[in-house]
């Protein structure tokens, strides 16, 4: 900018070329990113360091509050020697299976029902009170019911995840279907589309913006469903590990479990964001901006 401003207008040769401007902008952006990363690193170091320091000095009771070194030790034990309920990988696999299965079933059910009710007014009118009632039930209490129905196996956890995912996706799919530009539907119909084609080729792609937006929260709900289900009673899984640690007043164990879950959730979030970018490539402005929040 400053070069541009100082360069005399009659001498265009002195102006930085487009490539130079781009390069300057890029290096400025990289520098900024680096700075943000440094600050973030310092923040983490401060919190963890303070925690560790407090624990080792006895300011924070390490039995109650645990300590970073204790958490690391717990994680090492889990990954090297396994847990009381099999290897840590087995536990992760169990939780992820429940989560992903609950997520997929819940999303499919939510999208199908949301689009159907959004398209067919009569259906929406009939179903509205039931959906509202279902949504009003605090869904975590359904976990106890599912344990009675399905026992301690994974089915109950999947069911809880499905219920949680379903509602978050359903309302978005329904709203997205209602918001589809009527002009586009009319255009498709005049061009020769059947009602089914209108649904598949116009309504669903249009509502995709809404549906995909709900997937971030939905995966979180799937994870909550699986873990709460495990905490309520299970033979394996991360929720069950946390539950065990809690029973033994092992604060480090609880934190270690939370840490593993957070890593899994972040990995899933990354995948969903990639999927979102791909599905909504056509949009004039990308949804997930550079702020990444």
């Amino acid at each position: 900018m400053s070069e541009l401003a100082t360069a005399p207008a009659e001498v265009p040769a002195d102006e930085p070329s487009e490539a130079e401007l781009l390069r300057a902008a890029r290096s400025r952006r990289r520098l900024r990113g680096l700075l943000v990363l440094c600050v973030q690193f310092v923040l983490v170091a401060l919190v963890l360091g303070g925690w560790q320091l407090g624990a080792s000095r006895g300011v924070l009771d390490s039995f109650t509050y645990g300590s970073p070194s204790g958490v690391v030790g717990q994680l090492r034990t889990w990954f090297e020697h396994g847990t009381a309920s099999g290897s840590i990988w087995h536990n992760i696999a169990v939780t992820m299976q429940e989560t992903v299965l609950g997520f997929v079933i819940g999303v499919v059910a939510g999208v199908v029902l949301g689009v159907a009710l959004g398209r067919v007014r009569a259906l929406a009118e009939v179903m509205a009170p039931f959906i509202k009632a279902g949504n009003a039930v605090p869904r975590v209490v359904l976990g106890s019911m599912f344990i009675i129905w399905f026992g301690l196996g994974p089915s109950g956890k999947v069911a809880l995840a499905v219920v949680l995912v379903f509602f978050s996706v359903f309302f978005n799919a329904f709203q997205g279907t209602r918001e589809v530009d009527g002009n586009l539907i009319d255009n498709a119909r005049v061009l020769g589309a059947s009602e089914w084609q209108v649904t598949c080729r116009v309504v669903v792609p249009s509502a995709m913006t809404w549906i995909v937006a709900s997937l971030h929260a939905a995966f979180g709900f799937a994870l909550i469903g699986a873990i709460v289900g495990e905490v309520l009673g299970a033979q394996a899984g991360l929720g069950q590990l946390i539950q065990q640690a809690q029973g033994q007043f092992n604060a480090d164990g609880v934190y270690a479990g939370i840490l593993v879950i957070a890593v899994l959730a972040l990995a899933a979030e990354f995948l969903i964001t990639r999927f979102e970018r791909r599905v909504l490539r056509w949009r004039p402005t990308a949804l997930s901006g550079s702020t990444g929040l």
Binding site: D186, N187, R189, L191, A193, S194, Q197, R201, W282, P284
Partner: protein
């Protein structure tokens, strides 16, 4: 029009059509009242009238997207019961599917109608060439200028080779230069397949330049006030025909008919007295031609340079 078309069954026939709507406050609003109108096969009919007089509603009825409250709508002598495959409809606002490329947008009609993907795409390429959009097949609609988006809509509609073409103020969002170019293109394409056209516009100049017949609707509830035959020779060039003495004479006659309706509509919406002068608001052909009276370009612009921002 000529003898062959007047003898035949009309392509479009509206008989005593009335359309009422429920208003949000629970009342009934009459948009069209006892409307009679016929369009012969191959005839280009322009419909003008003040805002809110029911022009768009008329097109919805012909297309079968809406059903009339009373009266009969006939296409080629058969009553309209649902959407008719012979009808093409170009909407006022952009109706291209924003997630599809230009090529897929144009291929949409044949695809919906069961044509194989290969044939549909081949046809779409052909039509994109005809509207001067070769090379833009892979663009998304939002990556095009306003004029180009209109051409996509035109190709998307015409690829189905409609016998009846409905157009709702299709070019109102374009700047004057782009509009004239696309108007000429429309006339050229219309000559290819010669569908019956109902072209809704609020621009009287556009109506006269394009049409065989101009129908003036009254202020709402809309009904036909006057019908004027436009006996200007074809082929026409939109930029030049406005200088024609016959054009100016027709403009004055039709404007006299339309003016009262426009004034009335304006008075209603503004709550002002109906005698208020509104003639200044609408350009006479003389002022309009001086405003845009540059030498006509010899070729339709097919480059992205004809940037016209819509909305």
């Amino acid at each position: 029009m000529n003898a062959t078309t007047t003898d035949a069954v009309p392509a479009i026939e509206l008989r005593g059509v009335t359309q009422r709507f429920r208003t949000p406050s629970g009342g009934v609003h009459t948009a069209l009242h006892d409307l009679d109108m016929t369009v012969a096969p191959g005839e280009f009919c322009a419909v003008v009238g003040p805002t809110g007089c029911g022009k768009s509603t008329t097109l919805s009825l012909i297309s079968g997207l809406k059903a009339a409250s009373a009266g009969r709508t006939l296409l080629h002598g058969e009553p309209v019961t649902s959407l008719d495959r012979r009808v093409g409809f170009m909407f006022q606002t952009d109706a291209a599917f924003p997630w599809r490329t230009v090529l897929d947008n144009v291929a949409a009609g044949p695809r919906f109608r069961g044509v194989s993907r290969r044939d549909a795409v081949a046809g779409a390429r052909d039509w994109l060439r005809r509207v001067g959009l070769s090379g833009f097949e892979d663009r998304l609609p939002h990556q095009l200028s306003g004029g180009m988006r209109k051409r996509v809509a035109l190709a998307q509609t015409l690829i189905n080779e409609p016998e009846i073409l409905l157009m709702d103020e299709p070019f109102s969002a374009l700047d004057v230069q782009t509009r004239q170019i696309v108007q000429d293109e429309l006339l050229g394409l219309w000559e290819l397949t010669r569908p019956a056209v109902v072209f809704v516009t609020h621009d009287l100049e556009e109506a006269i330049a394009l049409a065989d017949k101009v129908v003036v609707l009254t202020v709402g509830p809309g009904t036909v006030k006057d019908t004027f035959t436009i006996d200007l020779p074809r082929p026409r060039r939109v930029q030049e025909i406005r200088f024609d003495a016959r054009f100016v004479a027709l403009y004055e006659r039709i404007w006299t008919s339309l003016r009262d309706e426009v004034r009335l509509a304006y008075a209603r919406s503004a709550g002002a007295d109906p005698g208020a002068p509104t003639k200044d608001a609408t350009p006479s052909p003389a002022t309009a031609t001086t405003a845009t009276g540059f030498s006509a370009p010899s070729e339709p612009a097919t480059t992205p340079s004809d940037d016209a921002e819509v909305h």
